[in-house]
């Protein structure tokens, strides 16, 4: 009983903030306080859910065997915890950013932010594929106004790409995959080990898996990744939370969930299509890294880096072994904290000094030392070097690749780490060693923004230390 109530609270709590935010629109301090407090409360709710363990609730049954229902399971809990932990931190950051930047329509911004988080909660705790799909779409719709926040022609154009690719893939691939699953399996309920009986032919399963892989466009598997760079027109806090954590992680989380709870990892490992998908994800990792190297715009570079890193998680899902799934789930966490730090830095540099191109960062480390130290930590975690959290996920992904016998993937992961070093670690020396721009004095972004990025950077270190506990938690999940 307790769990089902708490699950509902986790879903509704961010929505409850909406009327509060609207009512307090004339008083920015109160408005932001509501966002912040709701965020903290939501995180606490998620912690309670962690304590309580499994349970579920059916909200409404639309057709027989087709219901909107919530179910608490370790995978979703992990995602829910990450998203809800980073929401208040991002809000903290956004306060500094939005005010420092003098953005319009801030109330609308916070409202849709809250709605998006509510949808992410629903997605994390979805009890079946249909529920997951519904919240997946709500995430898309609720983040559209955030992407087009600026309202300029460029923002609208980016928003159009964003919406048409995300909705397009989900209508053309995801829906038929879902209806096909219902047609062949007779259910959409998540079950460890999958829902399909033995009589469904591998060919059908392969087709469905491909449809899912492309239909879940938020996972940004190439060639359907264009929406992510397009979404970078959004204000940086949006890019930080939504396009490094909530939205893209919703995508890869959905992929992992589908592999684990709809197909079953043993089934996926045996499908004839799986090697193809593994290589596709590998190609996505390498190609996106190569593109990232060529981006001078800092946020674009980060966006392509995200496409590449999402490839890791998708890759782990398709490798379909215990270790690889663990690596994927760990990477959801590690990449979240690492990449959000990088985006926080990008926003801070932009607000404080209006620099958005990497080539303009010469000597900026002397002007914004905290920002660039945080950046270095985040970058090291993304690359996967100790003593930062990112090392663990790469470790388990490599183990998983070995388990499944994909030697090539090992090479891909190593090369990708090298590419990461090239395009991310190019920046700290440039910032710290080159002379500072003339006339520049020591000037960081607003204190709340700096505080946010310090927290996330320190979390990257903490995740290295507590990586083992996280792994144990993931191992507690019943995957087969």
């Amino acid at each position: 009983m307790m769990q089902s109530n708490l699950l509902l609270i986790a879903l509704v709590l961010p929505l409850l903030a909406v009327p509060g935010i609207l009512l307090a629109r004339q008083r920015p301090n109160l408005r932001e306080a509501i966002s912040l407090l709701t965020g903290v409360a939501l995180f606490i709710v998620n912690l309670f859910l962690y304590r309580l363990g499994e349970g579920g609730v059916v909200l409404v049954e639309i057709l027989p065997r087709l219901a909107i229902s919530l179910e608490l399971q370790p995978l979703g809990l992990l995602f829910g915890l990450v998203a809800s932990a980073l929401w208040p931190i991002t809000t903290l950051y956004a306060i500094g950013y939005m005010r420092g930047h003098g953005e319009d329509n801030q109330t609308r911004f916070y409202v849709f932010f809250a709605v998006a988080i509510a949808a992410v909660m629903g997605l994390a705790y979805a009890g079946n594929l249909f529920t997951l799909f519904v919240f997946y779409e709500i995430v898309t719709f609720s983040t559209y106004p955030l992407v087009t926040h600026a309202g300029t022609e460029k923002a609208l154009k980016g928003g159009r790409t964003y919406l048409s690719l995300l909705l397009g893939t989900s209508i053309v691939f995801f829906i038929p995959a879902m209806i096909g699953t219902w047609f062949f399996a007779g259910t959409l309920e998540f079950q460890p080990g999958g829902v399909f009986g033995d009589e469904v032919s591998p060919l059908v399963l392969s087709v469905l898996l491909v449809l899912f892989a492309f239909g879940i466009g938020k996972a940004a598997l190439m060639p359907f990744h264009r929406w992510l760079p397009a979404a970078m027109v959004a204000p940086t806090p949006v890019s930080a939370l939504l396009h490094a954590v909530a939205v893209v992680k919703a995508g890869v989380f959905s992929v992992v969930t589908v592999v684990v709870y709809i197909f079953g990892i043993d089934t996926v490992a045996k499908l004839p299509i799986t090697p193809f998908l593994v290589y596709l994800a590998s190609a996505s990792i390498l190609l996106a890294s190569l593109v990232a190297m060529r981006q001078d715009n800092f946020k674009s570079r980060l966006a392509y880096s995200t496409v590449s890193q999402l490839g890791y998680i998708t890759l782990g899902a398709f490798l379909a072994s215990q270790a690889a799934i663990a690596g994927s789930l760990l990477h959801i966490v590690m990449h979240a904290f690492g990449k959000i730090t990088l985006f926080f830095c990008a926003g801070a540099i932009y607000v404080a000094h209006h620099k958005s191109q990497v080539s303009e960062f010469d000597g900026m480390g002397r002007v914004m030392p905290v920002t660039f130290i945080a950046f270095t930590l985040g970058a090291l975690s993304i690359i996967g070097l100790p003593p930062l959290g990112g090392v663990w996920s790469k470790w388990f992904l490599m183990m998983g690749a070995l388990d499944s016998g994909y030697i090539v993937v090992l090479a891909v992961l190593s090369i990708s780490s090298l590419l990461n070093i090239v395009y991310l670690l190019e920046i700290p020396p440039r910032a710290f060693l080159k002379p500072a721009p003339e006339g520049a004095t020591l000037q960081e972004a607003r204190s709340s923004s700096v505080l946010a990025m310090v927290i996330t950077a320190l979390m990257c270190i903490a995740l290295f230390v507590y990586g083992g506990d996280l792994y144990d938690f993931i191992r507690s999940a019943r995957l087969t």
Partner: protein, 490 residues
Amino acid sequence: MLNHFAVLQVVVPLLAAPACLILERARAAWLFACLACLLSLGISIVLFMQVQASGPISYALGGWDAPWGIEYRIDALSSFVLLLINLVAVAVVIAANSSLAAELPEPRHSPFYVLLLLCLAGLLGIVATGDVFNVFVFLEISSLATYALVALGRDRRALFAAYQYLIVGTIGATFFLIGIGFLYSLTGTLNMADLAQRLPGLEEKRLVAAAFGFIVIGIAMKLALFPLHGWLPDAYTHAPSMATAFLAASATKVALYLFIRMYFDVLGHEAVNALFPVGTLFLVLGSAAVLLASLAAIRQDNVKRIFALSSVGQIGYLVIGVGLSSALGLQAALLHLFNHALIKAALFIAVAAVICRVGGSRLEDFRGLGRAMPWTMGALVIGALSLIGVPLTAGFVSKWFLVLAAMEAGMWPLVALVLIGSFIALFYVWRIVEVAYFQQREAVAVGEAPLMLLIPLWVMALANLYFGIDTSLTVGGSEQAANFLMGGRP
């Protein structure tokens, strides 16, 4: 009294129409029309419950039993459709007063109600009757009323649109009549149940095929089935907004009802398909309608016309469901018949509300309305989401069944087509949303629509959500009707 309800369903609006004419004052006519429609809705509810409780109702008009007299027959399917039409009629007629005040000079108001009631009577008659010649009579009543309704439109283009519709509609009705004539000469009866019994035993298969050909083409013209849809976009665009809302939500639905009735019930889809692969033809035409009409809708810059073309596309979905010739496909068609009526009623009433305040329905007229008319645009967005088929809206349920039916038949390209159609719908709908919410409105301030428009609008919008979540009524009702039609006759 209770056993006369089958005929009262038609008689009430039919007699209310001339009574409305006597009430010259616009407001009095409106109130009276509201009353008549509510009464008619009440009758249809009673009929629906009666059919649910004790099976089909047969009523001999004037006490003359079939096959000499005219039989009125209300079964699961017809009671479902009657209820739907009456619901739409009530919503439209309540909203009509405010909308007409903005669109038409006052002297034309009471004729509008007269025509609306006549049209309603005709449509209800087509559904209620069990006699094919009687169908023709009601078809003409509703059609003539419709031509005049379209011609009431506020500019002169409405006259041409009405004229176009008149030509096509008359040809359609004539074809239908010729088809009936063939059937009568073959069997000597006009009663549907009798026809269904006598037709399978006939030797003259070619004549039956010819009769069916005439009937199908006749109905297809009324239904605006691609490629016979030419009249629809103009008629819907230039008719008074409320007439459009009513016609879009009910007239094409009744045409489809008639089609289903003739195809499955009277002629028997298996017998017909043995003569000519009609099912395949429907699939092809329906697919073409979905694709071409939806693509055409993207390029329009008048919102009314966008939705009109979208109607042509949606009719394609309905026909695909029928063409699959399976219980599941038929159920999908019936579900979409109901859900699409709700969708288009909501959308066209929303457009009417915009015209009422802004004076036009061109895309640029919608600029900034997200802020200026939040309630109207909110309902429009709900209707649009339902049109696309987003989960938790009614539109999703019907698409779900349609895709399942296509999968059951193993027609995977059709699955893709249905989904691509949804995707295109997203595009043309999104253009409106983007203009309304992300462009600023310059110059004059615009207020929210009058309450009497908002109430029916939101009833329809909420119905779209309600029937997307609680599907027991629609799915149960359509399943029952589909099984009845498929299993009723060998």
